[in-house]
């Protein structure tokens, strides 16, 4: 397994937000974590990206123990985050945002090819490369956030609610891009509220509710479960 989490407890202050969560992502897999607002999805993905410390449990990436290393070392293992709400460096230009993605020496040497790849994936960003990231539309900002992650030459890309706040047509394009990312060789861990879309693209999925995994399996099987149909699809 590329990514392995065993019995993770993550939280702020006294109350853990994520309880005893175990999940796995294999190389080249797309794994979705679905669940309602406030279930702890973002907490979970931030901990896997190194932004939050795990209180208890085991987190391994390609065999390496990730619980003891510094936040800024996660990226060098090949983990790249597309955070909720994009979190671009708003005052910096589009191209500077992308360049931050290849900050680490290993990715920096491939800067030119990586930039070319991102611009061919998102041609509009080439035209806007000198503009401050804050001036872009929501969809374009999401492209920059994804591009920034791809610049890091990641082995896994963590997507946190990539469709949030985007127009429906842009959402479709976003999920196509996620499929492209996998086709290019990286694994994907996807956290989404858009359950149908997420299950449509994922190889496997976990259901997170109130900080715990309540179900896991193949998307087709999950869609058959009465609880999932009722809670997430309203049927």
């Amino acid at each position: 397994m590329l990514l392995e989490a065993r019995n993770l407890h993550i939280g702020y202050g006294d109350a853990p937000a994520v309880w005893d969560v175990s999940l796995e992502v294999g190389g080249g897999e797309i794994v979705a974590v679905i669940g309602p607002n406030g279930a702890g999805k973002t907490t979970l993905i931030n901990a896997i990206a190194g932004l939050l410390r795990c209180r208890r449990g085991e987190l391994r990436f390609d065999g390496a123990d990730m619980t003891r290393i510094n936040a800024h070392a996660y990226c060098s293992h090949g983990i790249a985050l597309v955070p909720e709400g994009r979190r671009l460096f708003a005052k910096m230009s589009v191209e500077e945002n992308l360049e931050l993605g290849c900050y680490l020496p290993s990715a920096r040497s491939a800067r030119a090819q990586s930039l070319e790849r991102v611009y061919s994936l998102f041609p509009i960003l080439r035209d806007k490369r000198r503009q401050p990231a804050a001036e872009l539309s929501g969809g374009q900002q999401q492209m920059v956030a994804i591009g920034r992650a791809l610049m890091a030459k990641p082995r896994i890309v963590l997507f946190d609610e990539p469709s949030l706040g985007l127009a429906p047509t842009v959402v479709d394009a976003m999920f196509e891009i996620i499929a492209r990312v996998r086709a290019d060789g990286a694994a994907v861990l996807l956290v989404e509220q858009n359950v149908l879309k997420a299950l449509g693209i994922a190889d496997r999925a976990y259901v997170l509710e109130q900080g715990r995994i309540v179900a896991e399996g193949l998307p087709g099987d999950l869609l058959q479960q009465p609880h999932i149909r009722e809670a997430y699809l309203g049927v």
Partner: protein, 283 residues
Amino acid sequence: MPSATLLGQALISGVLAGGLYGLLAMGLSLSWGLLRLVNLSHFALAFLAAYIVYELGTSYHVEPWWSAAMVVPLMFAIGAGQHWLFDRFKVNELASLLITFSFAVILEVAIQLYWTADFRRYETEYATRSIKAGPFYIPVLELVLCIVAGLLAWGTWLWLRRTYVGKALRAAAEDPAIAAAYGVDHKKLAYLLSGIGAAYAGIAGTFIALIATLAPAQIWAYLGVVFAVVIIGRLGNPMGALLAGMLIGASESIAMAVLSPAWAPVVSFSVLIAILLWDPEWL
């Protein structure tokens, strides 16, 4: 109304004097804008550097340029050492004001203990030299100061714009957690930037030793003006700091020539308030 020549001379002297404001503002602006630390002891460090240059020059007859070569690395080390404390005690923006204020007071007392409260003047052959350009006199030391400040501001600006380290510092100023997720070790960079800020205080101090009369209480003399300069020049923007310094220097000098010298201290804050009210796009 004074003559055109007098006004022209006032403008030249003011812009050149403003170079020192800009030079002092640069280090302060960098740590405030990029690390969210307001270092009030920046001025005390500059004066410590000035006193050391003075001491080396008067007691050991070391040329000021050689003294600078020793003092600037020393200030870099002190700046990085200060940052160790900020980091160790997780100092935030407001706490940094209080802590560095106490640093400044301690340094002031230390300077007073060693060099006494007497006025000290480092007499050099450079101090009185000037170039005559038409009807105007251009003091050489101040001109050199402005050239040095200009090169530093430009170099720093390029460093922040063009290098990965510079971009990482700007990114971390906006969102440290996400910058870290892409491999930016902000802690390490913050030490570097704190050192650089203090090294700029060392350069400013060298010029203060050559231009001004030294006294421990003088540490506070530049505080108000330079704060106004930092804000007008935009936080974290070295070119802005220098240009704002020259703007304030020129305004003070013109006010002194047209109104009276007593008006000078009012000018910097009047300009600041006017600019804040005007609220131009670049601010």
